[in-house]
Symmetry: C2
Subunit: 603 residues, 2 copies
Amino acid sequence: MNEDQLYAMRHSLAHITAAAVQRLWPGAKFGVGPVIEDGFYYDIDLGETKISEQQFNKIEKVMRRIIAEKQEFICSTCPINEAIDWAKETGQPYKEELLNDLKRAGTTRAADLDMSEMGTIASGNSAMDEVSFYTNGSFKDLCRGPHVANTKEVGAFKLMRIAGAYWRGNENNPQMQRLYGVAFATDEELDNYLERLEQAKQRDHRKLGKELDLYTMSPLVGAGLPLFTPRGTILRDLAAQYSNQLRQGFGFEKVWTPHITKKELYEASGHWAKFGGELFLVKSQETSDEMALKPMNCPHHTQIFASKPRSYRDMPVRFLETTTDYRDEKTGELGGLNRVRSLTQDDSHVFARPDQIEGEINSLLASARQLYGELGMELRVRLSYRDSSDRYIGEMKLWQSAQAQLKAAVEANGLYYYEQEGEAAFYGPKIDFMATDAIGREHQVATVQLDFVQPKRFGLGYNDADGQMQTPVMIHCALLGSIERFLSVVIEHTAGWFPFWLAPEQIRILTINDTILEYVDEITSIIAETVLMRPVKYNEIRYSVDVRNESLGKKIREAVSMKIPVQIIVGPKDREACTVSVRLRDGETVLALSDLSEYLRTL
Amino acid sequence: MNEDQLYAMRHSLAHITAAAVQRLWPGAKFGVGPVIEDGFYYDIDLGETKISEQQFNKIEKVMRRIIAEKQEFICSTCPINEAIDWAKETGQPYKEELLNDLKRAGTTRAADLDMSEMGTIASGNSAMDEVSFYTNGSFKDLCRGPHVANTKEVGAFKLMRIAGAYWRGNENNPQMQRLYGVAFATDEELDNYLERLEQAKQRDHRKLGKELDLYTMSPLVGAGLPLFTPRGTILRDLAAQYSNQLRQGFGFEKVWTPHITKKELYEASGHWAKFGGELFLVKSQETSDEMALKPMNCPHHTQIFASKPRSYRDMPVRFLETTTDYRDEKTGELGGLNRVRSLTQDDSHVFARPDQIEGEINSLLASARQLYGELGMELRVRLSYRDSSDRYIGEMKLWQSAQAQLKAAVEANGLYYYEQEGEAAFYGPKIDFMATDAIGREHQVATVQLDFVQPKRFGLGYNDADGQMQTPVMIHCALLGSIERFLSVVIEHTAGWFPFWLAPEQIRILTINDTILEYVDEITSIIAETVLMRPVKYNEIRYSVDVRNESLGKKIREAVSMKIPVQIIVGPKDREACTVSVRLRDGETVLALSDLSEYLRTL
């Protein structure tokens, strides 16, 4: 099945959906019905009548009848004025409007018009004096195709949801009903898709965030500004520690900078002119300072680099800071941890000599591989290079050398990669990391970005062996990206069953009765002395004891619902045998108490 | 020597200073000359003539002559109109202005006038129809006294500095010259004071901050917004870790909240009405949200407490967050780390049942004692209670019980304390901690503050054993206070010679020549595996190696100037004997290499 065939199937299903709606509600007026990712939709105006999800079954039944009827899709063309008459006669004012717009556009190619919402209706005839129709059974639609041969060939589908949508996306226009469907070539593919969707729903980090008590939102604090509970804060801290420890192993040093700055810093960096309108502005009531919340940390870090003279022997200088940046997103775009206004970055900046780029990239790639590998996520990288246009800043020689060093480092790390010319930022080439999660979704995570511009703008320099001032290259890198987004990915990737080292509550001891409390003390003192050293160093075990006078079944159910990775069940028999019964997600095992600490260290 | 006597001595020295200035510059016009902490000043108008510090010797010489003359201080009184005539005749326009103001004020008591700058001149006669003068030798001054009997009795003094000062503090008035002196009862006390002052200058954290490369300021970022270098960041992190580890031992859990909030949060807490004009306001360009940078964290933390139902069994709930607050100080008041606009607090909030107050305070006091004790600073606490007025919120019974619990906890911890009625905040009693540094200065550091109001305003509650909703008490506590201010105190207290566990660079290995590099590797591998466990757990040793081809003397000088607490000197003899020469600040010792790790752990 190639992409074009699947496109034709989905497109044909849009027509079949409209045809079914027309059979059920003969007065239906239609807008547009394009193909989208995984399926299609059709915009429909039924006047006062509202389609509900309960009616999907009824619509799907009619669709299946149309499919069973094996109706041929027949193409025809006619002059645009005839088409307008057809729209008038059949009572399709939206089609009439589109046709009139097309007519007005005259010989202009449809692609040049801002008519993206017209999707399927642009005629194949570039002169626009004729338009094409497709007819199946009694349903005729203005359409440029392509379609499958007949309605039998549309594969598997399912109507998914109905939502309001203004005609042509303009809120001054009438509101239509947008009926969404998904469609795949085979039932198996559709089932897989629906299964993944169901899994994604179960794994939704907003749902799990609440169930596992990881973070909360407060309307008093504001949208996109999550507050992290003790459990969620453990996740944040461990993720940041891991990311930091990896880089500290390569000589990165932590620094600290404030969250605000005078706008002069961003005027110097060039960000003010480019992003000034997207910043949270900060108003001092005591001074005349014009300030902003930092949306990134590089300009602040340049000021630490610039705070003393540097020699070529000091290079590279590597700064690391986990700090919160603020970006003024539209509140409509905010949801859960995926997109927030307070994003904490595990940010780092290397100030390097040009000949040191490859070595530094190597360390960063090794760190990223280890981090995502530990979480069982596969990494894929995109190398974004410059093209031959003149919109890039910095010498061509420097770019070419840097791009070659990036590629060499990616290859040395055995990472799957692809290269894209023209995708670099104007200030330097970069590497983007994509991680694949447990249900096959790809997420953009870390980036490594070279920067030839900021060091120049801030006048940074180091003395070379001859005492000449040279300009360093900056390498921006965040391994987690935004910790909030990273956690949203990890929560959904693991479905809340975090790996042992990361789980906010790693162990819960469940007592069978209260005759063994002294033995429980023995167990907890062993656990309290156990410190994990990998992947994060000095990771003390987090445990609790459930000694309530409740049934073991209830205690286990609660521990499972909180997704505690290790449940230790203790009863009188365990005490007598000096053992512990360890219940993991995938089975149970009995250990000698003396082996517990070592066992936990290898989990 | 009691305070009154010392006051009279300093006050008399102010007159003697003015008398000496009058002898040297007969046209001098005088403002006021009050006693201040450690001494006195006098405001003088010499027209175009400017006194420089080079002339202090000359002035002091005349002062000593006046002292040697053993002039009596003679008190006299006269009607206010005669005094005005005297001021006119002697060409003292400032005195004349003060007298006219006094006259206008009529029978009103001087204390009721906003004439604090008039300091010493208010007459003892409350009816203000007569004023008093003191005369010594040929110098006569409007003055209420008291003075010593004669100029011989003034003790030891020294002129310190000269600064511009607007007459009566108003910048529209003429600028006078303010001549400052310090004075003590004995030469020894003065010497001690000057010695302490010199030490304080040597210890100035702004000077050491630069020399030891701890932090930097950038005019592009703004005043009061320090940026911490790698060395300074180590200090910050270790201080915060220590403070957190102490409280985590008592069940505190870390949380995380954003640095901004909608103003609705502070409207609910009541802070908006009270402090709205002192906040950094944050303007969203994408939404209509009215926001602010948080100046404290309690309102944010209430939202986490409120995020789920709580039972009396869950109490107390203890949140801990090291986070940066922003306060919009006037830039003129900013200097070094002492007063910043970005202040990072090791903040914590306990939500407790009223009967749990004492236990919680106990834990916090024990933590504070350990922390400041570790730094060799003595703690003194002030207990601030309510008085019987009605400006306090919360039931009297709750206040009395809480105050008794505070006192019991302070006594149980054996802390030196004093009590002050009427010093509590309107929302609850509190404990302030004062720490004394190595040169005898006292600094306000931690606070523990009870709060009966915010839990009510936010409608916080927990279910008691009967299922009734009860309101918790909040206990605010920061052990370090602001980390920036804490570091300024620690830097000056230690003069930059940080205790071993805290030093940014703990060990520097200095090689005698390059024949022993392999032996150096042996040493560093031992150091790299040594992890300190107290006072901060998991504190990996920070070391460097100076293998430069420089003389040992130069290497030592540089290590000493960076105040590296442990310098290990390695030469061929050490390698042969398998020893290391350890150079501490207070002496040198030779160790077997095999004892090095244990030695470092006990430093």
